[in-house]
């Protein structure tokens, strides 16, 4: 699943438009992921200029 490290996130939204599933949303000043839609492909982790996103194991 996708973990958002909120203490690192710059709430810029760079990740949002590379998501092929539209699972990410920048709501005002915080980022959300719809876990039911996210496929853990990890593309967003590359778009983040800060390294705030990480795909981690399910458990």
């Amino acid at each position: 699943m996708l973990t958002i490290h909120r203490e690192i996130c710059g709430y810029c939204g760079a990740c949002v438009s590379v998501c092929p599933e539209g699972a990410l949303e920048l709501v005002d000043a915080y980022l959300t992921v719809d876990d039911g839609v996210c496929i853990s492909c990890g593309l967003c982790t590359k778009a983040c200029p800060l390294g705030a996103l990480e795909v981690t194991d399910e458990e």
Partner: protein, 398 residues
């Protein structure tokens, strides 16, 4: 907030503000919603714009001009520097804006002309009737309501979620998404009238690093690299921190700015039934410079102009809005976007050695024009063999 407008604009950046301003001046009822609690903040931009482009829309105002740029310098990987000087060229370079003030001024102009403005108000879904976009469901402080509109203009920037919800694929491939980090740095020795661009694999692989003057002893220093090139320890922020340590260790960082810059081709179609897409959301960013303010304003104004005619004629179908799409695509802006995308695709293949060679070949030349095109023409004149590599570009270069 009314429940119905002629035009609903999603996003209060320069594209959205220009659309609402144009619509309001044409006598239409217009509404801008902006999800952030303030117009113009947080900044997601290096703030550069060409003087000529800006003057098409408004007179320059010292309140929102941080620096008057008279020179640009391109620094090749080995330090070879290409100087582009306004004085020598006889053509103007640009400004570095204060977007916090600039964006507010544009929205204020739209508001003065009669447009409604609502901040901290986010579109959560389009109102769809079949394939027709009839406005948006918006949320303000947890309260949802519907705003219907004859035409909805999506000006929601790089994220471009609104068009996506309407069934238009706005997903960016990683190689066309520049992952960017920027600091507003003060207390540094810089040329307050120069914008500098650093190239090379060490500072910004397949992108560039910029030092844009923000006045005396202050600059926007930032870096953009394609998301496809980013790895742990080699992200935009890492490149920026390394550059800062090496060049400006004394600098004080007074603002951290992050963001994504879409340097793809424009969307294949920027209209649908009841919907128009402008600015970064339409992907009309210059793929070479990454600049998008001017093109957002051009498309915002053009969209509202076409929308006004369509509304007057009582038909806001995709076909009736299509003159907007055709209009910008066949304009100088549209042609430049296509050419510069191809030029970008070529330039990202160049090794540092090749960039050094090309830079040395045009070092010291006085340019009569300060544009990507003028640079390219000069490079080709000095390196005629390059034309073979640029075969597919030849038609775009004449």
């Amino acid at each position: 907030m009314k429940s119905e407008y002629d035009i609903l604009v999603i996003g209060g950046g320069p594209g959205g503000a220009m659309a609402a301003w144009t619509a309001a001046k044409a006598g239409l009822s217009a509404c801008i919603i902006e999800k952030r609690p303030a117009i113009g903040a947080p900044v997601r931009c290096a703030e550069g714009i060409g003087k000529e482009l800006l003057k098409e829309f408004m007179d320059p105002d010292p309140r929102w001009i941080s620096a008057d740029i008279q020179r640009a310098r391109i620094i090749a990987p080995d330090g070879t520097t290409i100087d582009l000087d306004e004085g020598k060229a006889g053509t103007e370079v640009g400004y570095v804006l204060d977007r916090k003030v600039f964006d507010r001024d544009l929205v204020w102009k739209a508001s003065e002309a009669g447009a409604d403005v609502f901040v901290k108000t986010r579109a959560v879904a389009p109102i769809l009737e079949g394939s027709r976009v009839c406005g948006a469901t918006v949320e303000f402080c947890g309260e949802r309501r519907d705003i219907r509109a004859k035409v909805t203009i999506a000006a929601d920037g790089v994220e471009a979620k609104f068009a996506r919800w309407c069934g238009i694929d706005t997903t960016l491939p990683l190689h066309d998404m520049m992952s960017c980090a920027q600091y507003l740095v003060t207390g540094i020795d810089i040329d307050p009238h120069s914008n500098d661009f650093y190239l090379g694999g060490e500072v910004a692989p397949q992108g560039y690093l910029w030092v844009f003057a923000k006045g005396e002893r202050s600059a926007n220093i930032g870096v953009g690299i394609p998301a496809s090139k980013a790895k742990p320890g080699m992200r935009a922020r890492d490149y920026l921190d390394r550059f800062m340590r090496k060049h400006y260790p004394e600098g004080r960082i007074i603002e951290c700015i992050f963001g994504g810059d879409p340097v793809s081709r424009p969307l294949p179609c920027t209209v649908a039934d009841g919907l128009m897409i402008v600015g970064d959301a339409a992907r009309v960013v210059d793929p070479i410079t990454g600049g998008g303010i001017g093109n957002a304003m051009i498309t915002g104004k053009m969209a509202a102009g076409v929308a006004a005619k369509a509304i007057a004629a009582g038909d806001t179908s995709k076909a009736a809005l299509m003159p907007y799409d055709q209009g910008w695509r066949s304009s100088k802006m549209g042609r430049t976007l296509e050419r510069n995308y191809r030029v970008k695709e070529y330039f990202i293949t160049l090794s540092d050695e090749k960039m050094n060679t090309l830079a040395r070949s045009i070092e010291g030349i006085n340019f009569s024009e300060i544009t990507v095109m003028a640079l390219l023409k000069e490079i080709i004149t000095r390196n005629p063999k390059l034309l073979l590599e640029l075969k597919h570009l030849r038609d775009n270069l004449t």
